[in-house]
């Protein structure tokens, strides 16, 4: 037998193309539908018109152009960024902690980031949201504090430690941090209109400002996570064996957790607490395409974006003209999914 005859798991380009088509369809449907329905061909024309050297008449009125480009498009783009980041961060946490139940929400990262962001808004200087302002920084510090507390509590358990132990610790940490955040929010109700609705997540008030604020962090964090995918595969055989294969497990875990937390903190600072995306998307990919992180992480970026765009579409259309918080939609699908993952992961050590 030669190397031609073996087929190691890898990301096939046609999977990636398929996932991108799903994402494109999600974007298109999502910008079409709403209080004012826009035609698909008009949207595509308007999109192409924005390219250099292309001049097309989309047939949209100025008002419809404004709805498309100032309301729906930033919301869809930000939803995609948030979903991509939460999904790839969830996959990275699962690999770094070797725990199939790990998720930015369940590890207390999102709650910590939310608390950090609340403190920045309530007590920080009132300067506009910029990438290098106090808001993302405080969200990152809060997120790191959240995951560090969860890790410390979860790993202080000696006897009977399982995958669930870490998640229980995360639930306790998240509850505590969310309680503090709610208290600060109530105390500062006047100045905190910005964080209203955070605990359930929201994308309803975003514009391009938020997109530009999170983008640098998300790009860096996602790049680091994708480059670490192969090392997560090595880590899956445990710290001792990873060491004998030439990989430093502590360093891999640290880098991946920092990157995942940076990405999570950035998106939580603009979207609030949206749970279960990091569970649903990576596990669905594992079931369909395989469990190698070189497959799971890249597809999580694309399909996580598509998933959250569609969840947001549901959130704003299912009870129109009212909006359901997007965190409610993801929990509605995510909690039963979590139960299924929990059942199949019983007895797994962490």
């Amino acid at each position: 037998m030669t190397g031609d005859e073996i087929r190691p798991s890898r990301l096939h380009w046609w999977w990636l193309v398929g996932a991108l088509l799903v994402l494109a369809a999600a974007v298109l449907v999502s910008v079409m539908l709403g209080a004012v329905d826009l035609g698909a061909s008009s949207i595509v024309s308007s999109l192409l018109d924005r390219l250099p050297f292309v001049d097309l008449d989309s047939g949209l009125t100025d008002r419809e152009e404004a709805i498309l480009w100032d309301l729906r498009m930033p919301r869809v783009v930000l939803g995609g960024i948030v979903g991509a980041t939460l999904a790839v961060a969830g996959g990275s946490y699962q690999g770094a902690f070797r725990n199939p139940l790990a998720d930015p929400y369940l590890l207390g990262v999102a709650a910590g980031a939310g608390l950090g962001a609340t403190i920045a808004i309530a007590y920080g200087p009132s300067i506009p949201s910029t990438p290098f302002g106090p808001l993302p920084l405080m969200a990152f510090i809060g997120g790191i504090a959240g995951v560090a507390a969860t890790y410390a509590i979860g790993y202080s358990v000696r006897a009977g430690r399982t995958a669930v132990t870490l998640i229980l610790a995360g639930v306790a940490v998240a509850s505590f941090l969310t309680a503090v955040q709610t208290y600060l929010q109530q105390r500062n109700a006047e100045t905190l209109r910005e964080v209203y609705g955070w605990i359930l997540g929201r994308l309803s008030t975003v514009g391009w400002t938020e997109v530009w604020m999170v983008l640098p962090y998300v790009v860096v964090a996602t790049a680091v996570m994708l480059l670490g995918a192969r090392r997560l595969d090595v880590l899956s055989v445990g710290d001792d064996e990873a060491t004998t294969l030439g990989v430093d497990p502590t360093r891999v875990r640290l880098v991946m957790v920092l990157a995942a937390t940076l990405g999570t903190a950035a998106v939580v600072a603009v979207s609030g607490l949206i749970g279960f995306v990091g569970i649903i998307v990576p596990h669905t990919i594992r079931i369909i395409f395989g469990s190698s992180y070189r497959i799971v992480l890249p597809l999580s970026v694309v399909l996580g974006a598509a998933f959250l765009i569609l969840a947001d579409l549901l959130a704003r259309t299912v009870a129109a003209p009212a909006e359901i918080p997007i965190g409610v939609v993801t929990a509605f699908f995510g909690a039963p999914f979590f139960a299924i993952v929990l059942r199949s992961s019983r007895g797994l050590g962490s």
Binding site: G3, P8, L245
Partner: protein
């Protein structure tokens, strides 16, 4: 000739407990050394020390180079370990698991090359695993699994192979098959082998030399006949054994009942 592996004054402590205490060991290229000793003697820790997984006092040299000067990847290209209880990631196929052995040879970002795949294919052939290559590792039987873990270590192409009780979970036929395989591949590839071993009769058959550890120290070293002595085994294993000649130049270690009374107990005395 430079020794393949030289351990000098190795000491390991976990908290207050001394696990290894001034262990010296030299292994020549192509030699097979068997580590024996009672549970808790430090056999596994000694192997893990060589792989860099445990902090230690003293020095370890591989082909004359001190391991403290080697990068982790360089060390992994020199030493491969077959763990006693390998961690099996669910959903991982045999071919992907064996390919993990190429990790220390891969670039930071690049995937496996054609050369890496050829090596994996060769190892799968050598261990008769081609038919299993697309199976999930968690669905394998004990004997198949042991071959898969050894395949991963061979794919690493490290000249020193460490085996931690490689046959403990196997039946007698699989034990022989696995150890014969290690011996054959050792000769083909001129590997240096250090194996922790549980079964003393089997330990007398495969390694060139035995080293007995007890309470973290080397207490005996030499040929099987020199190390497997009733007095040493009594002193360190707290066991009564007889050493028999198997009639073919080998020896057999037989446990002896301390009571020596094999008659049925009087039913009246059983509570």
């Amino acid at each position: 000739m430079t020794a393949a592996l030289t351990l000098t004054g190795i000491g390991v402590r976990f908290g207050d407990a001394t696990i290894l205490d001034s262990v010296d060991l030299t292994v020549e290229p192509g030699e097979w050394v068997g580590l024996i000793g009672p549970n808790g003697a430090g056999k596994t820790t000694l192997l893990r020390t060589v792989t860099g997984a445990v902090a230690f006092d003293g020095s370890i040299q591989i082909n004359g180079a001190d391991t403290s000067t080697l990068k982790r990847r360089q060390l992994a290209r020199s030493v491969a370990l077959v763990p006693q209880q390998p961690v099996l990631p669910p959903g991982t196929r045999v071919v992907d698991y064996v390919l993990l052995g190429r990790t220390p040879h891969l670039g930071e970002v690049t995937g496996p090359s054609r050369h890496d795949l050829d090596i994996v294919a060769g190892v799968l052939d050598a261990l008769s695993l081609s038919a299993f290559m697309n199976r999930d590792v968690t669905t394998l039987s004990g004997g198949e699994l042991q071959r898969v873990v050894i395949a991963r270590a061979f794919a690493q192409e490290s000249p020193i192979l460490l085996l931690d009780e490689p046959t403990t979970a196997l039946d007698i036929g699989k034990q022989q098959a696995v150890l014969e395989l290690v011996d054959r591949l050792r000769r083909q590839r001129t590997l240096t082998v250090v194996s922790a071993m549980h079964d003393l009769t089997i330990a007398s058959q495969f390694p060139d030399r035995l080293v007995m550890l007890a309470a973290g120290q080397v207490v005996a070293e030499g040929t099987a006949a020199a190390v497997l002595r009733p007095d040493l085994i009594r002193a360190h294993y707290d066991a009564e054994v007889r050493i028999l000649d198997d009639g073919a130049g080998g020896i057999v270690v037989v446990p002896v009942r301390s009571q020596g009374d094999t008659t049925d107990p009087d039913p009246g005395t059983v509570a």
